[in-house]
């Protein structure tokens, strides 16, 4: 599918600017409250770390009605109090453009990449517009490995609250790591740096009009970079703090788009991941330090109730998507969810089996794909509730150890995944192998 033409406004801007070495993209939709800070950080980062380069900061907006675009264009960026070791030869340009197509972050990125290509940018970084913790150093950390160390793709690495980023922690990180064998801790972090080769590869693809146009974009970008053999690294950015939002808002859509993208890419790259065993760490740049993160409220009871309700009502779908043993274990769990004195808990192996069974059901079209993905929400909430209860008293470092155990379980369950993926009837030996594989010999390997 040929790349669609850029909107007229963007085309005129590209003609005026003609070229740029570096592009910073900021997607937005009604982020007037926070975007000024992000724009200022991007400007300061470019001025401080890349004064010799021509740069453009592009806000790609989805039709905000709260004055986001005006906030971008009027942000005061010539701050004399910034510590600049060298004076920029040219000030970075600033654009705020509306993108066309499906409303979503992916469509916003597409316009940024199109402009970057048009301007011949050597590197491009994208950052979320609701960030409160972004500093000028983030721009350096996202771009320097591309510009000066020949990396193609830089993923973020943050300190987050132990309950923050639960789709990442429960599904995307363990599954992506087990599939492609590279440990990228925040594959859907939202802030990325990439070379011209990578963003041009993205633009070549014809799946922009799918879930990629929305929340699926982050995992799509990371997976392509990893699966297609680009040089990938991570940069430590400190803490990730963002604007407050209702955690229940769009949860099902988020899960649908993110997990749907993971499953779809699994089909495309199955020749790449089948033979991979274990995983390798990705290079990590930046000076690591401990930071305090804000407390997060989680309503565990509500999540367990949602799971029990899902187990009661969605039995007809889960029975078809999950392996009979997995389904039996899930049903048993929901029956005893409210037993007094027994804490609600989902074993790592059971959770891995749920995710892998869903991936295989998606691959084999056992039920409508949208139904499979949407029916995952109650199961995901159960996993989050279990994780919260299990890690209530643990410190962040201990929680990371627990995460590592989960990831190793996913890696050991890979033979089970391959067997189910191939469509063979699950034999008892296969599940026994999975159980044996997931037995806790993880401590030494961590």
């Amino acid at each position: 599918m040929p790349t669609p033409p850029m909107p007229e406004e963007a085309r005129r801007a590209a003609e005026t600017l003609r070229r740029a070495d570096v592009v910073i993209g900021i997607p937005s939709y009604n982020n007037a409250r926070t975007i000024t800070h992000v724009v200022r950080a991007a400007y300061a980062g470019l001025a401080k770390y890349f004064p010799q380069l021509t740069a453009v900061v592009i806000n790609s907006d989805g039709g905000s009605t709260d004055g986001t675009r005006e906030a971008v264009l009027s942000a005061h960026v010539e701050d004399s109090r910034l510590l600049l070791l060298s004076t920029p030869t040219v000030a970075a340009h600033r654009l705020s453009l509306p993108y066309h197509g499906i409303p979503g972050k992916g469509s916003a990125f597409r316009l940024v990449f199109q402009l970057a290509k048009e301007l011949g940018a050597k590197a491009c970084a994208v950052v979320d517009s609701d960030l409160r913790s972004i500093t000028p150093e983030w721009i350096d950390l996202l771009l320097r490995p591309i510009l000066f160390a020949n990396y193609d793709f830089v993923a973020p690495y943050y300190h987050r609250h132990k309950y923050d980023g639960t789709i990442t922690n429960s599904i995307v990180y363990p599954l992506t790591r087990a599939l492609y064998g590279v440990r990228i801790r925040q594959p859907i972090g939202g802030e990325f740096g990439m070379s011209a080769a990578v963003y041009e590869r993205y633009l070549e693809r014809d799946d922009w009009e799918t879930d990629v146009a929305r929340f699926g974009i982050d995992i799509w970008m990371t997976t392509i970079a990893v699966a297609e053999g680009f040089r990938v690294c991570q940069s430590f950015l400190g803490a990730k703090l963002h604007d407050a939002k209702d955690p229940a808002a769009d949860l099902t859509a988020m899960l649908h788009q993110v997990v749907g993208s993971v499953f779809t890419l699994m089909e495309e790259y199955d020749h790449r991941w089948r033979a991979i065993t274990g995983s390798e760490p990705a290079e990590l740049f930046g000076f690591r330090f401990d930071v305090g993160v804000e407390a997060i409220q989680v309503n565990v009871k509500r999540m367990i109730d949602a799971f029990c309700r899902g187990s009661r009502e969605l039995a007809e779908i889960w029975a078809e998507t999950l392996h009979p043993e997995t389904w039996a274990a899930v049903a048993d769990l929901s029956r005893h969810a409210h037993d007094p004195g027994v804490p609600f808990h989902i074993e790592d192996e059971l959770w891995a089996r749920v995710v892998l069974d869903m991936a295989c059901a998606y691959h084999h079209h056992r039920v409508g794909r949208g139904h499979i993905l949407r029916s995952l929400t109650p199961l995901y909430l159960a996993r989050v509730a279990s994780f919260v209860l299990e890690t209530e008293s643990l410190l962040s470092a201990q929680v990371e150890d627990r995460m590592e155990q989960l990831c190793l379980t996913f890696e050991r369950m890979k033979p089970y995944l391959v067997e189910q993926w191939n469509g063979r009837a699950a034999s008892k030996s296969a599940s026994a192998e999975g159980r044996h594989a997931a037995a806790p010999k993880t401590r030494q390997e961590v």
Binding site: H161, T166, L255, V258, R374, S375
Partner: protein, 239 residues
Amino acid sequence: MVATLQQVLEGVLLRLKHHITTFLPSLLAALILFLVAYLAAIAARWMVYRIFKGLTIDRFLRQSGVVFMLDRSGRVRATRIVAESVYWAILLAGILTGLSVFDTQLTTQMIESFVFLLPKMVVAGLILLAGGWLAQYLGRSMLVWAVNEGLPAPRRMAAAVRVVIMFVAVVVAADQLNFARNVFLAAFIILVGGAALAASLAFGLSGGATLRRVLDERREEAGEVREGESRDRSLWNHL
């Protein structure tokens, strides 16, 4: 007396002979046609099996998900359905051709009715099939949505969606066949009218609560949280 009896018997035999000479060739021709059709049907069924097997149609349909749209168990085999359809179509054509040999008013009427009704029956069948699939799909969509939104009685809502869609499919199929049009139309109007009335009542009764919730959300967005109330907005991000 004997002569009369002989005359009657001769008449009967003549009539029998006439009937036999008139109908037996037709019957034989009909039987031969039926036999040929039967053999052709078996041969065609065998060929369809071989061709579809060679093209791995079943595997393609299973992998593309079409089979699961029609049958949740995934046991439906397109090859079998097509082969059996071809077999029965040829067999039916053979029977009709055989009947047409007799060239009576009854057989002509039967054939005409059948030929006239067949396309309509096929269309009605397809409508019911499509309705069944749509009812199943939308019913499940409603079920999953209602569960995720925490609405009461999701399975009943899903069942209601399925019933309504199937009912619409039956009405359209019946209309296609000119069968009890008025009855189905009246039932359809009653159903839709009832649903509209129920929706109006539900909207009216729950409108107050919804309005209160919307206003609360707006107030919270504006940062006006009253003392003692908890903010359901958090720094928790799923991604």
